[in-house]
Symmetry: C2
Subunit: 132 residues, 2 copies
DNA sequence: TAATTTTTGTTATAATATAACACTATGTAA
DNA sequence: TTACATAGTGTTATATTATAACAAAAATTA
């Protein structure tokens, strides 16, 4: 039931802001946006973010310290994420590639480690930025 | 010649500390360690770190905001990195897996993006931590 | 030499994230 | 219902990570 969880007021407010954005948002930019809705302190935002990441509603883009909504219900179970990031315009998209996911999910190293999660970030130039 | 570059004094000091550590180090912990060697300010450390990352001598572990020395000369060209991170003891190892690297290097999405770089972080439990 | 670029040292500050504590709401079990 | 446990809230303060701005020194180049 983890991914059908009832969200609290603050969690809903923060998720709402992130879902309405096409691009990843930073914690303090979210804080700025939600001040008119009664959230006043960083910690209130970070707590909501932590929970939303935990239940898979959003993902953290580690290299950018920012947060993006997940549109794929499968992520909420797998905690396996792949992103494409344009280094020029900072456009970020989540990649859902079944073959790639399977490959990574089943990856085994020779050190006897047991993996439960992965995060892959591709960097480059998006179509639009290549042209310019 | 990028990866045979002559390092400056500060860059050498910082690289030396990181290479002597088996585990990733954080910028301010590096700063603490190098104070006896004449480096006094965060910026001096961050500047050295930036350069060392740029030339591939070290990598940043994005999810941990820490830095680890690279032992594989190939990384210095490819900017393609894979890490395994134990979520219990925080042990980090760089993974060099030719097949995986090739797979990722040649990955193409359907959005027309041109990738020049990637970073993959696997999370789980290391052999030792599984037993305990 | 002079001009240019890179690195340095320094102070200050920005941006990102968590600790600690008292309190409130919600769920679960006598 | 009461008691207890769990999770979330609001708040203040603080820790951690990272960069801006500027003047001076060193290294590179022409
Ligand atoms: Zn997702
Ligand atoms: Zn772009
Ligand atoms: Zn490497
Ligand atoms: Zn471990």
């Amino acid at each position: 039931m983890q991914n059908q969880q009832v969200l609290t007021k603050n969690q809903k407010i923060v998720l709402d802001i992130i879902e309405k954005s096409s691009q990843p948002l930073k914690a303090y930019s979210i804080l700025f946006d939600v001040k008119k809705r009664g959230i006043n302190a960083p910690l209130q935002v970070y707590r909501a973010l932590d929970k939303l990441v935990e239940i898979g509603k959003i993902h953290k883009i580690e290299s950018r310290n920012s947060f993006i909504a997940c549109k794929n219900s499968k992520c909420q179970i797998t905690k396996a994420t792949v992103f494409s990031i344009c280094e020029n315009c900072e456009d970020v998209k989540e990649i859902h590639d079944h073959k790639l996911s399977e490959h990574l999910k089943h990856y085994k190293d020779n050190k006897g480690m047991k993996y439960s999660k992965y995060n892959l970030e591709f960097f480059g130039l998006c179509k639009r930025c290549i042209k310019n």
